[in-house]
């Protein structure tokens, strides 16, 4: 005889609990984890390479590259000399907290100050799953258009910092900065917005400053 059992549970509950555990462990280790998200081709890998080059003398950096397949990005990042591992999601479009934990174990967080998770290029699914990162950072690139916040609201709601990349290409596109800023802040009034060009380096100092501040705060919170 089958019986009815009331469950009344959010489907994301077990992932959210796992994500909290990951954050607690990161705090104890003094490791600041950024979950970096964008569309495919938004400039995640280029931004990351430049960031590592600029900060590698002052903090120990580890990178987890998540892709459905291949190790193209991991190869590119390893040229910077940073510690890097490749995660394959096995066909899935995002990482969850459990996969992040496995990645962190492989990376070894005890001697890492800044860990960066380069999530799968996608603006929908990674927004749904908390990875356990301390802060979510998203990149929106100028060619994608200033109306992205209207199309993918959740991604803008769960992110803490928005890098508007490829500003060196502004003259080729009709990208309205003020309209974009207004749309983003309507969804997320606390969003830190930094316009950058990962290619020319413009605006990158403000981004490095944000990272330095965050890493310092996180280490103090874990003491």
């Amino acid at each position: 005889m089958y019986k009815v059992y009331e469950i009344k549970k959010r489907i994301f509950d077990d992932n959210d609990q796992e994500a909290e555990k990951v954050r607690e462990e990161l705090k104890a280790d003094g490791t600041f984890l950024i979950n970096l998200m964008s569309s495919p081709g938004g400039g995640k890998t280029t931004t990351l390479k430049r960031t590592i080059d600029a900060l590698k003398e002052e903090m120990r950096i580890g990178v987890m590259e998540a892709d459905i397949d291949s190790a193209v990005d991991a190869d590119a990042i390893s040229e910077t000399g940073a510690k890097v591992i490749q995660l394959h999601t096995g066909g899935m479009c995002h990482l969850d907290a459990d996969m992040t934990r496995q990645g962190l174990e492989e990376l070894g967080t005890e001697d890492i100050d800044l860990a960066i998770l380069e999530n799968v290029g996608n603006l929908v699914c990674p927004a749904e799953f908390d990875t356990g990162a301390v802060k979510n950072v998203m990149i929106l690139s100028v060619p994608e258009g200033d109306d992205k916040p209207l199309k993918y609201p959740l991604m803008f709601q769960v992110s803490h910092c928005l890098l508007i990349n490829k500003i060196d290409a502004l003259s080729c596109f009709d990208f309205d900065f003020d309209a974009c800023r207004e749309r983003v802040l309507r969804l997320n009034p606390d969003m830190k917005i930094i316009p950058i060009s990962a290619k020319t380096g413009e605006g990158m100092d403000e981004w490095y400053g944000w990272i330095r501040e965050q890493v310092k705060e996180w280490k103090e919170a874990g003491k």
């Binding site: 059992y5 469950i7 009344k8 489907i11 995002h94 959740l154």
Partner: protein
């Protein structure tokens, strides 16, 4: 395909519920899915058909999906309106000071099991 990821998480939850209650076989799973939860019910059922075969516990379990309507509340005029039709801007007074009341659910409501 985040639907597959969602199915993986549903399965994990069902396994722990089964362990707690000594259940051997689940006959059906009823979900509450909000209209604006960004879950596509058809994809979810397809992923379920594929994934359930891996586990004897849920091998024959039917997935039932109940859609929950999306409703938004306006703080300026204190009225509610259907989210899917009007989005974030209140159709009564034009305000943007609105928030979602229901419609982003993604819950397991109940199961039939023995």
């Amino acid at each position: 395909m985040h639907e597959l990821g969602i199915i993986v998480h549903i399965t994990k939850t069902l396994q722990s519920v089964a362990a707690e209650n000594n259940l051997r076989e689940i006959a059906s799973v009823t979900l509450e899915v909000g209209e604006v939860s960004s879950i596509v019910p058809d994809y979810l059922t397809d992923c379920w058909q594929y994934y359930r075969k891996k586990f004897p516990l849920i091998e024959h379990a039917e997935m039932k999906i109940e859609m929950m309507p999306a409703v938004t509340y306006c703080e300026s005029c204190e009225k509610t309106y259907p989210t899917v039709e009007y989005g974030r801007q209140c159709p009564h007074c034009g305000s943007w000071e609105t928030y979602l009341v229901t419609g982003d659910e993604c819950n397991i409501r109940e199961i039939e099991a023995q």
